[in-house]
């Protein structure tokens, strides 16, 4: 019932709310330690941090200027092409609670819930790329599954040439497996992977990772491709929640869903090969062709 349908979602949410005191108690020492170190940090180090942040902000602003121009140009070109695709999403920052869930899956607890408008399946980012998606929502907390969880699959594409693939989490470190790439496909070490927006769950164009190894065995139908995530969930305490824009979500809805709901395993024999090879995806070619230009610095 819990696995196939959503009938128990309310029960689960209320139990999760009851679990919040326990999670809060566990998180407390870490939160207090952070607060104390903030209190005790010297003026000198604060000034240094402030200076470095200022430098960083100037750099980012400079990049953003270019980005704004590019986005405007991109939108104009898309308007010429009559593409329904739009950039621009609402975001919210959430904080991780440092609690240890089951060590054999990659899941996290965040301190925002349905009162903040979260919904299951919502994408989660950090400063460097996609982290995961929201799994269960309670009023004040939610749990999320990371893209490195073995049961999670994410539609990606190679930023260099638009080659589409599925990135499945592997339990080992920050690694992703790309199991359904043909031996002949053009994928190289160092290729940047971005979300492809297929499946309509993750908006297109966000960085996912970098290919670290490609092993081509002629006796196997698919190459063994491994990638390293660009996000670092173990380092950052803050994550970014994303609300994809409605018109974009609507335009992507008719595309067959590639990302299976998180608790559902991507049974390797069924869904990913379809998506990798035979997805029709009407708006997709436009998206793939233009996407790298927008998001590459």
């Amino acid at each position: 019932m819990d696995y196939r349908t959503q009938h128990l979602a309310t029960l689960r949410a209320s139990l999760l709310t009851m679990a919040y005191p326990v999670q809060f108690v566990v998180d407390l020492p870490v939160a207090v330690a952070g607060w104390v170190s903030e209190m005790l940090s010297s003026r000198q180090s604060l000034l240094e941090e402030n200076a470095s942040l200022k430098v960083q902000q100037v750099l980012l602003k400079a990049q953003l200027q270019r980005f704004v121009a590019l986005e405007a140009e991109n939108m104009r070109l898309r308007a010429l092409l009559d593409s329904p695709f739009r950039i621009g999403e609402r975001v919210l920052i959430a904080e991780l609670l440092s609690v240890d869930l089951d060590p054999f899956s990659r899941k996290i607890v965040i301190d925002k819930g349905s009162t903040d408008g979260l919904f299951p399946g919502q994408p989660l980012l950090d400063a460097d790329g996609v982290i995961g998606q929201v799994l269960h929502v309670a009023p004040i907390t939610s749990t999320a599954v990371l893209i490195t969880d073995p049961s999670h699959a994410l539609p990606v594409q190679v930023a260099r040439n638009g080659q589409r693939a599925i990135a499945v989490g592997s339990a080992a470190g920050n690694c992703l497996d790309l199991p359904y790439i043909l031996n002949t496909a053009d994928v190289r070490e160092g290729d940047v992977l971005i979300t492809s927006g297929m499946g309509g769950r993750f908006p297109p164009g966000y960085p996912v990772g970098r290919v670290t190894s490609v092993v081509r065995d002629p006796s196997q139908p698919f190459a063994q491709v491994r990638a390293e995530t660009s996000s670092h969930p173990e380092r950052s305490r803050q994550v970014l929640l994303l609300w994809p824009r409605n018109d974009q979500a609507a335009s992507l809805d008719p595309v067959p869903t590639v990302v299976v709901a998180p608790p559902v395993p991507t049974s390797p024999t069924v869904s990913p090969p379809n998506s990798a090879s035979s997805l029709p995806a009407p708006p997709a070619p436009v998206v793939t062709a233009n996407q790298p230009a927008v998001h590459r610095p």
Partner: protein, 162 residues
């Protein structure tokens, strides 16, 4: 009488909450798989010492809560804890007389059952755990049993839980 009874419930409740806190406690990466099944150990103690209070019903409720806390499939821990507590309540009179190491061996077997059921459920829904680390809690739970037993027995005697 009623106040004594409600006090017993509070003590049992707080030991279970402590077990949940221990379950969620973040450990360094290498220690993660060694996590003993704290909630199961506490439940086992109470169902052995006070089978008229902590039985299958309590085990089921605690299991559901553990499922939500551990983000497991709803009912996975509930099922295995009910089975384990059923075994203990059936045998509780014999188990109380066992020496500590023999009880620890039984805890080893019970944790093995618990983990096996967990493995079956996970494999069925396609989230099979990777690596042999999955079986480490069986060993650590058995190793921690004598201490859990001693601590909870002292708690029970100090607060006159019965």
């Amino acid at each position: 009488m009623t106040s004594a009874s409600s006090q017993s419930w509070w003590v049992i409740f707080f030991t279970l909450v402590a077990a949940f806190v221990l379950t969620l406690l973040p450990l360094p990466g290498w220690a993660g798989p060694y996590h003993p099944k704290w909630v199961m150990l506490v439940l086992l103690y109470w169902s052995m010492a006070l089978p008229h209070r902590v039985g299958i019903g309590v085990a089921w409720l605690v299991g559901l809560f553990l499922d939500v806390i551990e983000e497991a499939l709803l009912g996975q821990n509930a099922l295995s804890l009910v089975l384990v507590v059923f075994i203990v309540t059936t045998l509780h009179q014999r188990l109380r007389l066992f020496p500590r190491w023999q009880q620890a061996l039984l805890v080893l077997a019970l944790t093995f059952i618990h983990q096996t059921i967990g493995l079956c459920v996970r494999t069925t829904i396609g989230c099979a755990p990777v690596g042999g680390g999955y079986w480490l809690p069986v060993l650590t739970s058995a190793l921690f049993w004598p201490w859990v037993f001693a601590v909870l027995r002292d708690v029970r005697r100090r607060y006159l839980v019965n």
